[in-house]
């Protein structure tokens, strides 16, 4: 990575306080364009909260978040998505009663140009754009091996497939930066391995920058270029997978006694 390029995303001293609890404490980090970064830490460390801060679900108590050098603090989640950040959720949040295809189609929403009149009279750009959306959605589903399930109801998919659908849906929003919250949770090693390949592939294919939270170390160490380690809302280490694996502070905090033995 070139040292002098402006980072795609940068946070400056971001903190979030819930009642008396400081869930995120002076969080400072950056992601350069094209990087694949991991965010790890024990349960309750504040990882998901950081995602919620970046995507505008929570507003930081203090601090600044810059996307392409511009502040996104105070923007609504949908505005942030429109500026190019899409995410998945740790506790899957699909449109569960809708078909797999519709789940993806919805995410094209911010790129649709036809207006209300064109909708109601089915004229102008309506048919052209709708057809394009359907076609692109099916392509995305194919990448995630979901094309055969396109017309099934999302809630009936197996767990691993639901996680993949969440990623497909996030990609449909055509983000620059993709945030994945525990994408491998609940997957078996085989599925995790496939997921890893998929993440690699979509990154190069879609020119993405990715930030991912994950507890599965094989996945994190396998694909991330840099890793941030969080504990009690504070960054305790940062570095390449090799550096992190050998960092005694991380071993103590994250891997706990089990690693010491």
């Amino acid at each position: 990575m070139a040292e002098n390029t402006k980072p795609l995303l940068k946070t400056e001293d971001v903190s979030e306080v819930f009642g008396g609890l400081k869930a995120v404490d002076d969080f400072d980090f950056y992601i350069n364009r094209g990087e694949l970064i991991g965010l790890i830490g024990p349960n309750g460390a504040g990882k998901t909260t950081i995602f919620n801060l970046i995507t505008g679900v929570y507003v930081p108590t203090t601090g600044e978040i810059l996307l392409d050098g511009e502040s996104i603090v105070g923007l609504k989640p949908y505005e942030i998505t429109q500026r190019g950040i899409a995410r998945t959720f740790q506790n899957i949040r699909l449109f569960s009663e809708l078909s797999v295809l519709d789940n993806v189609k919805i995410a094209y929403h911010c790129h649709v140009k036809y207006g209300l009149l064109e909708t109601v009279f089915r004229m102008g750009r309506y048919f052209g754009e709708e057809d394009a959306i359907t076609e692109q959605s099916l392509k995305l589903l194919k990448i995630f091996k979901l094309d055969e399930h396109a017309h099934e109801v999302a809630k009936n998919l197996p767990y691993g497939a639901q996680r993949r659908l969440e990623i497909a849906r996030a990609l449909a929003a055509q983000p620059k930066l993709l945030l994945l919250d525990e994408p491998a949770a609940g997957m078996n090693p085989q599925e995790t391995h496939e997921l890893m390949e998929m993440i690699r592939w979509i990154r190069s294919q879609f020119d993405l920058t990715i930030l991912l939270i994950e507890h599965d170390m094989s996945l994190v160490m396998g694909i991330c270029e840099r890793i941030y380690v969080l504990e009690y809302g504070i960054i305790i280490a940062e570095g390449t997978p090799a550096e992190i694996q050998n960092n005694p502070e991380v071993i103590r905090a994250y891997l706990g006694t089990e690693a010491v033995n």
């Binding site: 998901t48 919620n52 929570y58 959720f89």
Partner: protein, 295 residues
């Protein structure tokens, strides 16, 4: 001086009306606190209570107090039955299903009531309370005194139950977090059942008191007070018992003032305007804490 005099007189009227709202609101708030349901049928439970009191006094020829007690007991049981039959099967259903069911129960009680007792309003007989005091120029009548007395007694009993008994503790635990309470070994079915009993009997008391106060009752009498008591509960902060009482009294006073100084046609609008104002400004109510959803 004249204005002030009228103001205070309306205040007295408002507090007695507000006490009635408070009694109904308590049930709303308790039930909402524990199963997160706006029990639309609560106003109709209150109507049933009024009729039972009426029949106690007329058909059975009992004095007013025993009628009130019997009505509370029977209506409380009715509340439990409604919960068992209509709400319990939907404990894990979406909340909208539960809400629609409550609307259904409400209709059922109203029109089944109409079928059995006819739509004709009934007039409460003289209960020996038709006297009035003149305190420094302000009129307080016997009915109002009875309302104050009964409301205070019932609230004292309720406070005792909620604060001091095992049941009360279980109720508070369950309304704080039903699932955890269950894990801690609280029989939530029983607690919910008892909550309906208590809430419904308070509504019954309010029904009988209203019968005594306004003299007439009819099968649809529960709709408006039911909605307004809900407003009172929201105003005080839903799920919070003292909030329901304060909310009820504030609402009663505001209504009396609007009716006294503006026009009685705007009385009902006042309650709803308050509701919307509260929901927009502080949805958690006067005594509630704001919470945000975890994502």
């Amino acid at each position: 001086m004249d204005f002030l005099h009228q103001f205070i007189q309306q205040l007295i009227n408002g507090v007695s009306l507000g006490s009635i709202y408070a009694l109904i609101a308590l049930g709303y708030t308790m039930i909402y606190g524990i199963i997160k349901l706006i029990n639309f049928a609560h106003g109709d439970i209150y109507m049933v209570g009024a009729y039972l009191g009426f029949f106690g006094v007329t058909a059975a020829g009992l004095p007013i107090l025993p009628s009130l007690l019997i009505s509370m007991l029977v209506t409380g049981c009715l509340g439990m039955v409604v919960e068992k039959l209509a709400y319990k099967p939907l404990r894990h259903a979406p909340r909208i299903s539960l809400l629609i069911t409550a609307i259904g129960v409400s209709f059922f009680l109203e029109y089944a009531g109409m079928y059995f007792v006819t739509a004709t309003p009934r007039t409460f007989p003289n209960t020996g309370l038709n006297f009035a005091f003149d305190v420094a120029g302000f009129i307080i009548n016997g009915q109002q005194l009875m309302i104050f007395a009964i409301t205070i007694i019932l609230m004292a009993i309720l406070t005792y139950i909620v604060q001091k008994t095992k049941l009360g503790k279980a109720m508070r635990a369950a309304s704080f977090d039903t699932e955890t309470a269950q894990l801690m070994g609280i029989d939530s079915d029983r607690v919910i059942s008892m909550t309906f009993f208590i809430g419904s009997s308070l509504a019954a008391a309010a029904g009988v008191l209203v019968g005594v106060y306004y003299n007439t009752i009819d099968p649809l009498m529960g709709i408006m007070p039911g909605l307004k008591a809900f407003v009172a509960a929201v105003l005080g902060g839903i799920g919070i018992l003292p909030g329901a009482v304060v909310g009820g009294i504030i609402l009663g006073v505001i209504e009396a003032l609007v009716a006294g100084f503006l026009s009685s046609t705007f009385r009902d609008a006042a309650a709803f305007a308050i509701l919307i104002l509260v929901l927009l400004v502080k949805p958690s109510g006067l005594f509630g804490k704001n919470t945000n959803e975890k994502v």
